[in-house]
Amino acid sequence: ERDGAFGLGRAAHAEELAAWDVDVLPDGRGLPEGAGDVFTGEEVFAAKCASCHGDFAEGVDNWPVLAGGFDTLADKDPVKTVGSYWPYLSTVWDYVHRSMPFGEAGTLTADETYAIVAYILYSNDLVDDEFELSSENFAEFEMYNKDGFVIDDRPDREYADWSAEPCMENCKDEVKITMRSVFLVSEPP
C-alpha cells in the first residue's frame, strides 16, 4: 500500500503516455513539432476530407460546414464554423488529429494535421495562401471568435428570478394554442 492508497494498477510507461496523451491545450502545450502549409493542406484535404466537407470546407449535404458564416451568430440561423465560432486553434488541431477523418481517425501525421489546419484557416480567409502553420507560430494565432464565450451565467441570470413560489390559480386570463407540432411522428402498426 502506497500513501494510504490500495496499490492497484501499475506504473504507466513513457511510450504508453505518449500514445494516449495527445490532447493540446489552448496555449499550444501538447503539440508535437512539425509544420504544414496551405498548399500541402489543400492536397491532403482534397484526398481525405473534401468528400464530406467539400473542396472549400463548405460542407457536402448535411456534413459539417467548416468555413464561412462570419458574423451570423446573432442571426435567426447562425452558421457556426471553425472560422465564425471556434475560440481556439488548439481545438482544431487536436480534434482533426485525434478524431478525423470520420471512420478513419488517428491516421493523420502531425505534419498532415498542421497542413489541414492551415488549409481550414485559409478556407476561412484567416490566412493567405503562403501561410505555413507550425509548432513555432501556433501559439500566436488568435481565432476570430476568441472572445465570444462567457462562463455559464445561469445562476445570476436566471436562478434568482425563477425560484419564487409559483402561481397556482388565475395565473393568466386566457390560453390559446399558438403553435401545433410540425412533424407528426406516427406509430408503426
Partner: protein
Amino acid sequence: MSDALSRPSRRAFLKGSAAMAAGTVAGAAAAQSGPDPLITELQDWASYTGAGVDETPYGMPISFESHVVRRNVEWLTASPISSINFTPIHALEGTITPQGCAFERHHSGAIELSKQDYRLMINGLVDRPLVFTYADIERFPRENHVYFCECAANTGMEWAGAQLNGAQFTHGMIHNMEYTGVPLRTLLKEAGADISADKWVYVEGADASSNGRSIPMEKALDDVLVAFKANGEALRMEHGYPVRLVVPGWEGNMWVKWLRRIEVVDGPVESREETSKYTDVYEDGTARKWTWVMDAKSVITSPSPQMPITHGKGPLVISGLAWSGHGQITRVDVSRDGGITWETARLGKQGDTKALTRFYLDVDWDGAPMLLQSRAMDETGYVQPTKAQLRDSRGENSVYHNNCIQTWYVNEQGIAENVEVS
C-alpha cells in the same frame, strides 16, 4: 420451439382479436352485456403448458410490448454513427430505465471493447501515472447510486416551436439507472493526484471520437463515479461497456463512455465537445460555455401524443417524470388548462438526488379538451420555467438545455398533440 408455442392458433386468433379491440376493451369492461368468454371458456394458457425455463437464458420483453423500443429520427443528423436515438419514456413507468431501450448517443458509433482489452490510464499532474486493467477497477471499494443521464440536447429541437409529436422524441434523450462504480476521487488518490481546487480533470473515451471533456476538480472529488455496472448488470455495449463515467446532474455528453484516460490538468482543455459543441448561443451571438448542470425539468408521459386516452371519461391517471441536476425534486404541479390553474401532483416515491422522480395526478376526466402541463420544483427552490421565459433569457439558438414546461393538447377523443400555448 416448444409444443405450446407451435400449436395453432385459437390463441393466435384471440391474440389478434384482443389487439384489434385494444382501444375499446378496457372501456367496454363496465358495459359487458353478457358473460365474458375470456372467463367462461377455458383458455389455452390455462390448459396447455407454457415455455420451459431453458427456453430463454436471457429474456426479451413479450412480443405484445414490441412498440416499447428506442427510435431514431433520421433527419436530425448527417450519419447514424454520430447520432441519437430516443428512450420510449411514454410507455415506461416508475423511474428505472430498462437498459435495452435506454437511449444512445454516439459520436463514432458504439464500439466493442472487451474487459481483456480494456485499459484505464490516469496521468498528468499526478505523483504516479498509472494503468489499470478492468480487474483492477473491480478491486476498489464501490458504491451504488441512481442517477439520470440527460443529453444536453434533449428537447433541443423544440426551441423554435412545437416540432416532434411524442414525449419519446421531445424528452427521450434520457435514462435513469442504478450504477455501481468507484468514486473518481478514489482513483485520483491512488495516483497521488494534485487535487487543489484550481486543477481540472480531462476525461476521454476509447472510441474514435474520444469525446474528451474537462471537469473542474471540485466536481471530480464530489460525486463522479467510474461505473462498471448499471441496473445490476454490466454496462451495455452502447452505454460504454465495460467502464463509463457517471457525472451526476451534469449534461450527458460528459458521461464519457468506454473511459480510457483521466488526466489531471492545470486548466480546461477546451476540447471540441466544450467549444464547438455543448456551448449555448445567446440571442446576441455570444455563447455560454461550461453549462454543465441540467436544470429542473419534467414532462407528462401519459397522456401524451403516443399515449392517447382510449378508455373514455372517468378516472384518468396523469403520469410523468421530473428531475433536476441540482438535487432532489421536491414538488411537481400539473395544470389541465394550459397554466391558468395548477394542482400539486403526488410523487410516486420521494425523489432521489439527481435522479428521475415519478409523479401522478389522479383525475376524473369529463371528456373536455385539456392543455396538460407539468412544472417541477427542486430542493434549491428553482421552478421549471416556461418556454417564453427561456426564450426571453436566451433567444432560440441555444440548441442545448431546453428545460421548458411542455404542453400536450388533449382533444375530446383523447388524442394528444404537442403544442405551444400563449
